[in-house]
Amino acid sequence: MQKFLAKRAVSSAISLIFLIIAVFFLSRLTGDPTDLYLPVDASQAARDQFREIHGLNDPLIVQFGRYVWDLVHLNFGESIRRAEPALPVVLQAFGWTFRLALITMAIVTVAAITLGALAAFRVGGIFDRIATFFSLIGASAPDFWIAIVAIVVFAVGLGWVPTSGVGGPQYWILPVAVLFIRPFGLILQVVRGSMINALGSAYVKTARAKGVAPKKTIFVHALRNAMLPVITVMGDQAAALLNGAVVVETIFGFPGVGKLMIDSILNRDFTVVLAAIMVTALAIFIMNILIDFAYAILDPRIRY
């Protein structure tokens, strides 16, 4: 198992390194970094000063070394707009996104697995129809449109929940509900397919021949096997939530990392953009390792 985890960790780490290289060179090769880092209306003197301070006149490789060195020390520089270190700003926003993703994923996991297992047990039954409906909606609906329609209906029209911002539980309802749809539909689909396979498998036949009750057959014999492909998709979806809540956060005025990123882009605050990407990538890196760990726990064929 150590070998498996080590291999996966190394491959994730390689990806992370590629990301760092790519971001650095993209930001250097697409033009003068001062254009990226400084506001559009910065004076020529400020630009020269910026170049001097950040050593932009040094050879590219020296710049890259310094950039990596700074990254290792978690030094992302200062947010130009806010005039404070970028990292705390990003971390605070990331905390919000993380909570949002965690709550959503928790609800999605429980709902998708239960409903998916029940749908697979009676193909064509009522649960199966619900599952098909949601997976279609999840794959077809643009979340920004759902979000604004939800605001019009539930916040403006009915006045049940606030339109945007943060605060008590009522502020979380709409963002979570909108974010819920896509991963729920996708994971439901995978759980269902995987459960149908598992329920049709030979070992479930054995369990039935042993006299195991249906409930135990589904949730003990089939589900654990069926979870293996599900975990992979759950990882992908969780990653998508960590980085892709951009739209929903923007619409609901939720102070997460996605909104921070868009705001920073519109304000040309590149240090913050960069820090946000790094923090998100690191979080996904850690999550991938956890996913692999879960995989190894569930499947003894990986452990031995």
């Binding site: 491959s11 994730s12 390689i14 990806s15 992370l16 590629f18 990301l19 790519a22 971001v23 993209l26 930001s27 697409t30 033009g31 990226l36 193909v123 064509g124 199966d128 098909t132 279609l136 794959a139 077809s140 609906a141 643009p142 979340d143 920004f144 449109w145 604004i148 329609v149 605001i151 019009v152 403006v156 990653a239 960590l242 980085n243 892709g244 951009v246 739209v247 923007t250 990123m261 868009i262 882009i265 519109l266 953009v273 946000a276 990407i277 998100t280 990538a281 996904i284 890196f285 991938n288």
Partner: protein
């Protein structure tokens, strides 16, 4: 292959072709929802091709009297049936014209990512050397990039033109095809009929294009239909956030975004383009579901026995 056939045999060998097309049409008609989806998509495609040519004038001319005109107002012409936008342009005409950009971006991105992704996947799956180990890493790297963020940052640094958006979206979708193709090739390569072809002395090109590709193509097409919907949504999101297609060009996502300030006073500005997005992606998903069954010889009977639920 066709050049290896004699004229006499090519007639015989070719005759099943129109039969195949008819067969597929029958299979399509057997699934009512898929038929409706296909018809809707054909309408959208016609709009995307002809719309910008015929209605461009109508869709861009501002008309202050028609500002936020409500839908279903029968006193105006047909193109005003869905109402007017904030600058008094008929929404229906704009939606039809916007279909052009929306479809162009999605088509471009899907074709590019499918071609590059499956070519890389073929190489990765077929070659037994180092290449087979290295190429999948590309997919890992791209996958570990937060894809929307990648798009955001690239469009931040480059200018958000149609071609750049296509490139960005194509790159983020390459892994899907790369991984699927590779996994399928790895499996098909070991099948006995490929071994049989090797024993006969078939060249690599013949094995890839005659024996492996036809077997995995249905899977790729099914994914492509699904991915088309995904790319459309991604483009819409980018446009909605203001970092995708820039005005005066229009796409459906951009229209939703432009209507947002008027949500409470003129809901139709955002509602109609959003609805078209949903219907299009829904159709693509339904069609993809149908393809998954119709293109798989072992599943096809579900359609042939007619009308039954295929789950």
């Amino acid at each position: 292959m066709s050049n290896t056939r004699t004229p006499a045999t090519s007639v015989k060998a070719e005759t099943p072709e129109p039969g195949k097309a008819r067969k597929m049409l029958q299979l399509l008609l057997a699934d009512k929802t898929a038929t409706i989806a296909a018809i809707f998509l054909i309408v959208i495609i016609v709009c995307a091709i002809l719309g910008p040519l015929l209605l461009d004038q109508l869709a861009t001319r501002q008309n202050l009297r028609g500002r936020n005109a409500p839908p279903f107002d029968l006193t105006r012409s047909f193109f005003w049936v869905l109402g007017g936008d904030q600058l008094g342009r008929p929404l229906l005409a704009r939606i039809i014209v916007a279909a052009g950009n929306t479809m162009a971006v999605a088509t471009g991105a899907v074709i590019a990512s499918m071609t590059i992704g499956s070519a890389l996947g073929l190489v990765a799956g077929y070659s037994r050397g180092k290449l087979g180990d290295i190429v999948p890493r590309i997919a890992d790297v791209i996958m570990s990039f937060p894809s929307l963020l990648l798009a955001v940052i690239v469009l931040y640094m480059l200018e958000p033109s149609v071609s750049n958006i296509v490139i960005v979206l194509a790159i983020t979708r390459i892994p899907v095809y790369l991984r699927t193709t590779r996994a399928e090739v790895l499996e098909v390569r070991e099948r006995m009929f490929v071994q049989a072809a090797i024993v006969m002395g078939a060249s690599h090109l013949r094995i890839i294009f005659r024996h492996i590709l036809p077997v995995i193509l249905p899977t790729l097409l099914t994914i492509a239909a699904l991915d088309f919907a995904f790319v459309m949504l991604a483009e819409s999101s980018l446009s909605f956030l203001g970092i995708g297609i820039q005005p005066p060009e229009i796409t459906w996502g951009l229209m939703v975004s432009q209507g947002r300030p008027y949500l409470t006073s003129a809901w139709w500005l955002s509602f109609w383009p959003g609805l078209v997005i949903i219907l299009t992606t829904l159709s693509l998903n339904l069609l993809s579901n149908w393809m998954r069954v119709a293109l798989d010889p072992t599943q096809r009977w579900r359609l042939e026995i007619g009308g039954k639920k295929n789950g």
